[in-house]
């Protein structure tokens, strides 16, 4: 078995083992742990776009909301019709949930394609602004669709998200992105980032690379949205505004653009930080912002990035 597959298998088994004990966990810790897992999925997938491929997107929360709303719509529609009042067995729920997550992810991927094809002609700040705009358009659309609850959002979503699902999908996300990048094909993402002109001159279709990164990133944002919806059981359009996008971007930057391990650690750290700061109550967000500034000044190359070694004859 190839090494990455073995690692994935071990991660999935570990997720399964941990989730067996989740009933004994303090619900607060469970909440924080699930939040970490969801943020890891968001940050690692955005890292493919912003980090490896170097396309600065500010629309990740928009794609997350597509996944959240559509997967919630699937379970809200099918759960009562399929399972009646008893709610179905765990296996039935699991199958429906998995299908709902995939629907959410695929719809987000389609949204990524629709946004990506016209906007990836733009570079840098222009792309950031356009993706920011698209994210907001998606949010405002949900806010105005009465069938999806309008500004009140959707509630009474079945609480299908367990610790197992969150950890398993975090592992799958890391696995897929790592495998994709660590290949001759995947080095093209980084080449597109480093020098687009040179990448095209050696035969890479950089537009296609950007679109693939955007679509794969959006897919996992949609999965994360589905997990979030079935964890919180209530979603509102306001939960997916651009501050959420920026929160994810900060994780990517702090972790070190294009450094998956760093981004994972940054996602964990930045999810924990506001929780650790709870005792200082109203000063919490001020302190959080202050710590962010300090971290950025101290480690502009990313919290967990290390200096590249000098060329040496070996």
């Amino acid at each position: 078995m190839p090494r990455p597959h073995l690692a994935l298998l071990i991660a999935l088994l570990t997720a399964f083992a941990i989730s067996q004990f989740s009933d004994h966990f303090n619900p607060y810790y469970l909440d924080v742990l699930a939040g970490i897992g969801i943020n890891v999925i968001l940050a690692v997938s955005l890292n493919l776009v912003n980090g490896y491929t170097g396309q600065f997107s500010l629309g990740h929360a928009g794609f997350m909301s597509v996944g959240a709303y559509l997967s919630a719509a699937v379970t809200l529609f099918f759960a009562p019709r399929l399972f009646g009042s008893d709610g179905g067995t765990a296996v039935q729920q699991g199958v429906l949930f998995l299908a709902a997550l995939l629907v959410g992810g695929l719809c987000a991927a389609v949204a990524g394609l629709v946004v990506g094809v016209p906007s990836l002609r733009l570079k840098g700040d222009y792309l950031a602004l356009v993706t920011l705009g698209f994210g907001e358009i998606i949010r405002v659309t949900f806010q105005n669709v009465e069938k999806l609850g309008g500004a009140l959002g959707l509630n009474a979503i079945p609480p299908y998200t367990t610790l197992f699902w969150v950890l398993a999908f975090a592992a799958v996300t890391i696995f897929i992105i790592t495998c994709l990048v660590n290949s001759t094909y995947g080095r093209g993402f980084i080449a597109t980032h480093d020098d687009e002109i040179a990448a095209e001159a050696v035969g890479l279709n950089t537009t296609r690379y950007k679109i693939v990164a955007f679509v794969v990133g959006a897919f996992f944002a949609g999965i994360a949205g589905g997990l979030y919806a079935h964890f919180k059981t209530t979603i509102t359009p306001g939960g997916f505004d651009f501050t959420k996008s920026i929160e994810i971007v900060v994780m990517v930057i702090l972790g070190g653009m294009g450094n998956t391990l760093g981004v994972i650690l940054a996602a964990v750290l930045l999810t924990l930080l506001p929780e650790v700061l709870r005792p200082v109550a109203e000063y919490r967000m001020i302190l959080y912002s202050f710590l962010l500034i300090v971290l950025m000044i101290a480690r502009p190359q990313g919290l967990f990035a290390f200096k590249l070694p000098k060329a040496r004859s070996t």
Partner: protein
Amino acid sequence: MPAPLLQLAQVTIRFGGLTAVNGFDLAVCEDELVGLIGPNGAGKTTVFNLITGVYPPSEGTVTFGGGDLAGLRVDEIAACGITRTFQNIRLFGSLSVFDNVRVACNLHRATGPAHTLLRLGAFRADEAAIARRIEELLDLFNLRRFRDAPAKSLPYGEQRRLEIVRCLATKPKLLLLDEPAAGMNATEKVELVRLIQQVQKQFKLSILLVEHSMKVVMGVCQRITVLDYGMKIAEGDPAAIQRNPKVIEAYLGEDHQKSLAHH
């Protein structure tokens, strides 16, 4: 005479009111090494950009191996077998020396993106074959010792060489070299001349060379085309070009002729 590999016929490009290249004809045959010289701003790099599809010509045609290149994207033209180096070196700075060459191997990859996830035998065999090819190329250019170093950390001359290796990994038929000797000292230039000759012989390439160093140009080119203000003012073998009064006036200067007389 066989049909040329690359042919530019009456190629013109205008940027607003400026005609950067005007009615330019050029032919490069198989296994030929052609030089393109001229004063700064004469339009040499623009000719490269026209060949590689960065700019579509306003008028005229570029054909390669008998096919018209009109409407093809830069990466599609690279897939046809035309590749280039850049005047201001363009390496993938955050990637290692090995990975810089690896990126260029994408044109001849046997497995696709889906294989990267499954990582079955076919994928591993493909990656292993690519790695072997890269290492052979690095060995050939004495760059193996820098295999895992970041490309940006290489000494200047080695960066230029790596750029050429990266081009060769695309298995080109035509190599365009844009001022490869820029910033090199006399010893490095001698080395470069040898390198260019070695590459052409070993990989059976046609080469189009833009260069200011007359030592390099006169040393390797079989034929030279001179460009001034976007127009061809002369064409011929190195000896004829050095005696051509138009070329001396526009580019080489009187001093060059004097230094020639001393030899």
